[in-house]
């Protein structure tokens, strides 16, 4: 049975006929990665969340371009999966990244007490020495 093939163009891959739509590549993987990235918040101190989220975003980048070019060519469900997974990845990266930044900031402030940066203002002679002790972090 031939459906109407109005949208077909030569040399442009498969036709968008109903029932012959393709699954987007990586759509399921992006969804799973995005949702699992919230586990990174629980254990591994947010690092795992950032890694999984960025992996999800990278995997989602090519299919997003494919959607923008030919949205009619792919199945509805895979597009939805991809977009939901992308949102979840972004949130996972944001949560993990925000907490890592906060921890990094507190680490800088908290070396030898919460106001360790203040002595720099008092005696500028020791400024360079103290900066070097900070640097490894």
């Amino acid at each position: 049975m031939e459906e109407k093939n109005t949208g077909t163009q030569p040399n442009q891959g498969p036709s968008p006929a109903e029932g012959e739509k393709l699954m987007l590549p990586n759509s399921t993987a992006v969804l799973v990665l995005g949702i699992v990235s919230i586990v990174g918040v629980l254990c591994s101190q947010g690092i795992l969340g950032v890694i999984l989220g960025i992996l999800g975003l990278v995997l989602a980048s090519t299919p997003m371009k494919m959607i923008n070019e030919h949205p009619e060519r792919y199945t509805e469900s895979s597009i939805k999966n991809l977009k939901a997974g992308r949102v979840c990845s972004i949130i996972g990266v944001a949560l993990g990244g925000a907490f890592l930044l906060l921890a990094f900031f507190l680490l800088l402030l908290g070396l030898g007490g919460f106001f360790a940066l203040l002595p720099f203002l008092d005696n500028m002679n020791n400024f360079n020495v103290d900066m070097i002790t900070l640097l490894p972090f």
Partner: protein
Amino acid sequence: MREQLIQWLEAHLQPCVYKQNLGIECLGCGFQRSLIALLKGNIWESILLYPGLLPMLVLFAFLILHLIFHFKKGAAILKYIFLTDAAIIVTNYIIQTIQ
């Protein structure tokens, strides 16, 4: 089986790196105690310890079901559960830190 799992978990509780070194709790603090409480059957205690755990378990269960059965609105539902869970975790963290 369940008692063994609970005993093993209680014997292998991981200390929080941030709480030890920086003096602040992390976003996941309370999760292990909450999981143990849930395994013991104390749902309310689990919610009090870490409110984000139960929605997260629902999220994963629904993710597996969605991957098997391909629900029509599964992706949207997953997204909203995820957003709700993230909001609960962040709110709980802010409240815990302020107190």
